[in-house]
Amino acid sequence: MERAIILAASAVGAGLAMIAGLGPGIGEGFTAGKACEAIGRQPEAQSVVTRTMIVGCAIAESTGIYSLVIALILIFMNPLLGML
C-alpha cells in the first residue's frame, strides 16, 4: 500500500518536474529572435552571431536538463522505494 503511494507520487512528481521545460523554450526563442534582428542589421556577421547564439542556447538549456534528469531518476531509478 505504501509502495503504491510512493510510486503514484513519483509519477506525479516526474510530470510536475517537466513544467520547467517552459523556461528554456521561451528564453531560447527570444534569443533566436534577437539573433535574427542582429543578422538583419548586419548580414556579414552571420556566422559569428549564429555561433554565439548556439553557445548561449546550450547554456540556457541547463535548467531544463536538470529537471529532465530529476524526472528520469524518478521514473527509472526511484531512490525513494528503498527507503520504505
Binding site: V55, I65, V69
Partner: protein
C-alpha cells in the same frame, strides 16, 4: 532503460565493480591513441592529406585558447584539446551501438572535479592563500555561504549539463526503438518476425541526438572550462 552493465568485479576492498563505462573508456583510449599515431605519422613541412585535418584541429584549439584565456595561458591548450576529443568521441560512441561513455554521471563528474581543482588552484596562485580565503567574504561577510554555494555549483552544473543531454538522448532513442517495434506488431499483426519499422527512422533522429548534441556538449564543456579558469585568474 538500465544503468551500465557490470562486466567483472575486482576482488579487492570488498569487490570493485568494473562497469561497461570503464571498458568503453579503455576502448576510447585505444582508439584515440591509434588516431593520434595515424594522423602524426610522416609529417611534412607542407601539409597534405590527413595532416591537414590534424593541423586544422590544433589551430582551432590554440585559437580558442588564445581568444578565451589570453596569450599567457597557452599551456592549457593540450588539456583543452584532449578534453574536447574525449568528450566528442565519448558521446559519438552511441552511433556504433555501444553505451556512450559520457552517458554515465561518473565520467562527467570526474572531468568537472578536475576543472574545479584547476579553478581553485588558479585563484590561490593569483591572490595567495589568505587572499583566496578572504575573497569568499567579498563584498560583505554575510555573503560567505552564498559564495561557497556558488563555487560548489560550478562543477555540479558542468557535469549535470553534459550528462543530462547525452543520457536523455540515449533514453529517448531506446524508447523510440521500443515504440517502433510495437508499431510493427500492430501494423503487421504478428506476421513480421523482424521489427522492420526500426530500419531508418532512428537514424534521422540520431542526427540531432547523437551528432549535434555530442559535438555541442563537448564544445560547451571545454568553452566553460576555459571561461571559468580565465575568470579565476583576474
Amino acid at each position: 532503460m538500465d544503468g551500465p552493465k557490470i562486466m567483472f568485479t575486482i576482488p579487492l576492498f570488498g569487490g570493485i565493480a568494473v562497469t561497461e563505462t570503464v571498458t568503453n573508456s579503455w576502448l576510447l583510449i585505444v582508439v584515440v591513441f591509434i588516431l593520434c599515431k595515424f594522423l602524426t605519422s610522416n609529417l611534412q613541412k607542407i601539409p597534405k592529406g590527413k595532416q591537414v585535418l590534424a593541423e586544422k584541429y590544433v589551430t582551432m584549439i590554440t585559437g580558442l585558447v588564445k581568444e578565451t584565456m589570453g596569450e599567457k595561458k597557452l599551456h592549457y591548450a593540450p588539456y583543452i584539446g584532449t578534453l574536447m576529443i574525449f568528450s566528442a568521441l565519448g558521446s559519438l560512441m552511441s552511433l556504433t551501438g555501444l553505451r556512450p561513455v559520457t552517458g554515465d554521471l561518473n565520467t562527467t563528474v570526474a572531468w568537472a572535479v578536475v576543472t574545479f581543482v584547476l579553478i581553485q588552484m588558479t585563484k590561490i596562485k593569483a591572490n595567495g592563500f589568505l587572499g583566496y580565503l578572504k575573497s569568499f567574504a567579498d563584498p560583505f561577510p554575510v555573503m560567505l555561504p552564498i559564495n561557497i554555494v556558488s563555487e560548489l555549483a560550478t562543477p555540479v552544473s558542468l557535469s549535470f549539463r553534459h550528462f543530462g543531454n547525452i543520457a536523455a538522448g540515449t533514453v529517448i532513442t531506446s524508447l523510440l526503438y521500443t515504440a517502433l517495434a510495437a508499431l510493427t506488431n500492430i501494423v503487421f499483426r504478428g506476421f513480421m518476425p523482424v521489427p522492420i519499422f526500426q530500419l531508418g527512422i532512428p537514424a534521422v533522429l540520431s542526427i540531432y541526438f547523437d551528432l549535434f548534441t555530442g559535438f555541442m556538449q563537448a564544445f560547451i564543456f571545454s568553452m566553460l572550462t576555459m571561461a571559468f579558469i580565465s575568470n579565476a585568474a583576474e
